[in-house]
Point group: D2
Chain length 349, copies 4
Amino acid sequence: MSKKIRVGAIGCGYWGPNLIRNFIEIPNAEMVAVADLDQKLLDRLESRFPQIQNTTTNYRDLFEMDLDAVIIATPPQTHFVLAKDCMENGLHVLVEKPLTLDSNEAKGLVDIAAKHDRILMVGHVFEYNTAVLALKDLIKSGELGDIYYIDFIRASLGLFQTKANVLWDLAPHDISILRFLLDADPITISSTGLSCVNNGIEDVAYTTFTFPNRVLAHIRSSWLDPNKNRSVTIVGSKKMVVYDDLEPLEKIKIYDKGVEVIRRTDTFGDWSFAYHYGDMIAPYYRFEEPLREECKHFLECIESGEQPRSDGLNGLRVVQILEAADYSLKNKGLTVSMDFETSEITSAH
Amino acid sequence: MSKKIRVGAIGCGYWGPNLIRNFIEIPNAEMVAVADLDQKLLDRLESRFPQIQNTTTNYRDLFEMDLDAVIIATPPQTHFVLAKDCMENGLHVLVEKPLTLDSNEAKGLVDIAAKHDRILMVGHVFEYNTAVLALKDLIKSGELGDIYYIDFIRASLGLFQTKANVLWDLAPHDISILRFLLDADPITISSTGLSCVNNGIEDVAYTTFTFPNRVLAHIRSSWLDPNKNRSVTIVGSKKMVVYDDLEPLEKIKIYDKGVEVIRRTDTFGDWSFAYHYGDMIAPYYRFEEPLREECKHFLECIESGEQPRSDGLNGLRVVQILEAADYSLKNKGLTVSMDFETSEITSAH
Amino acid sequence: MSKKIRVGAIGCGYWGPNLIRNFIEIPNAEMVAVADLDQKLLDRLESRFPQIQNTTTNYRDLFEMDLDAVIIATPPQTHFVLAKDCMENGLHVLVEKPLTLDSNEAKGLVDIAAKHDRILMVGHVFEYNTAVLALKDLIKSGELGDIYYIDFIRASLGLFQTKANVLWDLAPHDISILRFLLDADPITISSTGLSCVNNGIEDVAYTTFTFPNRVLAHIRSSWLDPNKNRSVTIVGSKKMVVYDDLEPLEKIKIYDKGVEVIRRTDTFGDWSFAYHYGDMIAPYYRFEEPLREECKHFLECIESGEQPRSDGLNGLRVVQILEAADYSLKNKGLTVSMDFETSEITSAH
Amino acid sequence: MSKKIRVGAIGCGYWGPNLIRNFIEIPNAEMVAVADLDQKLLDRLESRFPQIQNTTTNYRDLFEMDLDAVIIATPPQTHFVLAKDCMENGLHVLVEKPLTLDSNEAKGLVDIAAKHDRILMVGHVFEYNTAVLALKDLIKSGELGDIYYIDFIRASLGLFQTKANVLWDLAPHDISILRFLLDADPITISSTGLSCVNNGIEDVAYTTFTFPNRVLAHIRSSWLDPNKNRSVTIVGSKKMVVYDDLEPLEKIKIYDKGVEVIRRTDTFGDWSFAYHYGDMIAPYYRFEEPLREECKHFLECIESGEQPRSDGLNGLRVVQILEAADYSLKNKGLTVSMDFETSEITSAH
């Protein structure tokens, strides 16, 4: 095996330690150093992971450590400045979702990555989840027939954020899954919501998307629900699938169920319906930790030079879609369409 | 006890027999006669309920039978003509939901009821459901605090209809519950959906409502879902409630959970969140069959002359709201508001 | 079609009306008359089923009505006298489970049926249940491999009885299922329980059975459990099955899971285990009402002269097994075996 | 704070690392050294916990390290020799459950602990579980009324062991909970089971206990079940409780339900039943990791010199009960009683 890839981390608050643990455990990586503004967080990290040799409150110290790559798990409003600086200093970057809170910044990062020939990857972890890969196979193989609609619920009594609303916090997952499953960008977007607890920061949002081929998608995002719910329902013309991420074993259930219209030739434009009921099957999948798969993919791309599945452009598109959804949210659910080249949002009416 | 109330029925297809059974079993009613265009349905009904003395394929025969009231359970496009004729012939009328498929017709029926001094009641059965009454008590008593939002799901592999889409079929329940719980009409309405199976008849719809006091409501209606789901989630500033109609015993669960913003006086506009976790309680309610309660209420109103809870005006409002939602559905989710006096729908933007 | 089979009923308390309704609805039967000691129950029945032409408080009146068959749904302690009298008066008999509370009486009924060439059938309704038939197919086809053990739970806050304990009330179902599935009688039986609420009448019992081929079965019977539970788990060497009777749709789930011992040839008698994890499948079955199937089977046997699936001998065996289980229960769980020819119970030790 | 308690560990296979992690994280302990026969396990441990300064394949090396205490997480057949040696070398000992596989050995360890004045504690982790403490409070406070019976299920497709059967592996948890909840030892024990997969090692067992005051308990233990199930049902004369350890939040549900006998004075010895239905409540508890609580308790006992809740005598009793249950298992469910002073098992008949 070639020499280990030397990785640094910026940010060790809520999510950072999960990334750090994975890079410690993956054999061909070396977790060299961690930066955070908060010395207390660094102290706690050191006592949990004594393997880490260096910590610093100044992330620019990482540039002196002969690193290959850096992972950024800081609040999203800081992603642009940090990722830019890291890439310009020669480092490959894995940045947490959302890539940025502004599509111009996201575009900027894509350009910088290209210019400096660096890997820029976004932590859209569900694109590395066995269940989501299985859903994609079900769609691609034609087993589900034509896709009619996809329904997402991501709700619980959640961790409220102060700078980003529930859309920017939760919906990046669902949007990245949607784009991954359908291999397409939405045509129109409409989002309605409200801020219950904290004035101005929406904690509940209902977002509808239309995609090519008349596919509809709907995402319910809530920080304010008594029950935890993480489900995706895909309804196709042949079969229907439910992916319940909270099920310990049978995460995916495929229902051989459907309805067809029967045109009656003997009547004047009349019709009836044929219902089909068949077996339900919950296939067995061998699950790996999705975050581990994501981290390994990042390292593989560094070695091979290939674009990551969740590359900067992918991250940019998700940010553009979030931006459009947020615009709709602020305009009482106005249906908008967007030009993905210019990031221009236009009313769909 | 006074003499029995003599009741006739028009329509004995899917829902009619449930109403008929109830009026047979209620002691102070007499189920006198049933009309339906389909002789086969009448034959089947007679063999199931030999107590019924008369059946006919001409509903106007009912006018010769010295009836007090009639129940109408025919396809909704026929409600207006039938209810009008019955009231004009001196009968009190209980008509299935939705009252009509057109608000002008609904208004017409309200006027006719007033002119002829007849009881006009709509079968909004959930307004007679113990669980919904309990939800209303929880809201009114202040136990939930201020209401933030209400989320409805009514989905399953449903019985497709050929004249009315999923909104007109399923959402009357949720809209009547909403109006009953909040004692208010919506300010704006937006609905998005699609017709998967049968071109032009939407089988999936997502509808958002804003109500006075910034309350948001959302209804998911689907005839095309692998799992049956009938749930209402009410989130208040103090507590949250889930009503799951499919639970055999614990239909209502009250969660003593919430979040509050804590403004910090020592920082510049900064804040944090206080999470509250308490007990969950599923109160015991003694359940009566809601349809029985509805039928008994109809008979009581006939005897007392009082307006039913789900009277014609209530039915009209639900039809107006459905009409607005359907208009939005046909216009890609355009947010609309409406004038409830004139039934005029206007774009909210 | 030949002329209708004329059926009478004795007993119209809790269960009788369900049988009566079915015989009313089956085309080739005619529900002629109902007898019950309680005139109030007869009155209530008549108002519900006006089709029934005759009711009487003296069951012997049924013998004057040119009946072909009678169904007996009275308390079990009366079954012997009633069934005997009916058969001796020329009637075929369907009697509710358990056949009797005493195996000598049960044997007596079997003998009388043979002597008078009458059909004697016991209401072991689960032997007519689609799910149980599916379980039998799964076992017979070898899909489950060798059967290791079968676990039953039948618990809820149940209807307490005053003459029969929980074993005699609930376990007949499970014992009849067990005998049906395994085509065998148990070799040993042991039951432990207690009477919580009503001194001397056990309301909770745990009963263990050994069957040929080392198959173990266990039945948990409880009238005193906060949750309703009706489940059967069958564990085989190849697959495992759970039948949950309370599931509305997916009553049977087949798990392709198992463990095998791997003997290692390179070590001294050591071994390890190979775990196998595969798909879970919930096959679609078209369900008929089991009681309807039972009633139709009774009528078919009357017409064909064939022995019913749940004939008198089947009923006798279940009574003998219950008798042995009850003996064990009264003797602190003493393991007993029994001679099915003589009904003699002996300690297995 | 006084100086840290220096802890060593013997065994770092399946369970050991959980204990080791806790002692690393608790501030007033220092995890000094780990011994295991398998160098590969030690290597893996070191890379996961670089905080550990010393590892060795010879546990006696721990005696040279100025330790205060040792935790033993090795196969149960080795507990006696290891715990004895450690205590005789001056160390306090926390040993995994079961204490031993032989009650004479367990007694020996209790004697050695007393003689050398060492803390001997057994890892009955459920006695440190918030849910179990809550159950004990519910019983002690009288809220449940008189306890009628307790039902345990501990089943899944489990990790098969080669030396100990399912009783010795899973039932120690349930027996320790039972003794803790009832503050009593069982009077009689009966167990039936079978070995499905591995000849001679039972993988399924049903065990019944009678306790003072006519309390019945039943434990279902299975390594061979398609679904994971970890539940305790306690039925009292006033209320019923279910503790479902797999529920993420509402682990304990209290049902205000019951039945009472109503003696009728106007009839001859007849009676009826009064059913009571009330609310269900799932109280909120703040959960700490039970293993953390267990580890902290061990350290507190070392500091205070007090006997642990799950002390050697407690461990001995559980072993004696397991021994009696296993004896019954090997004798076809023979009901046995035992003399807890002499460990003598006698047939209860």
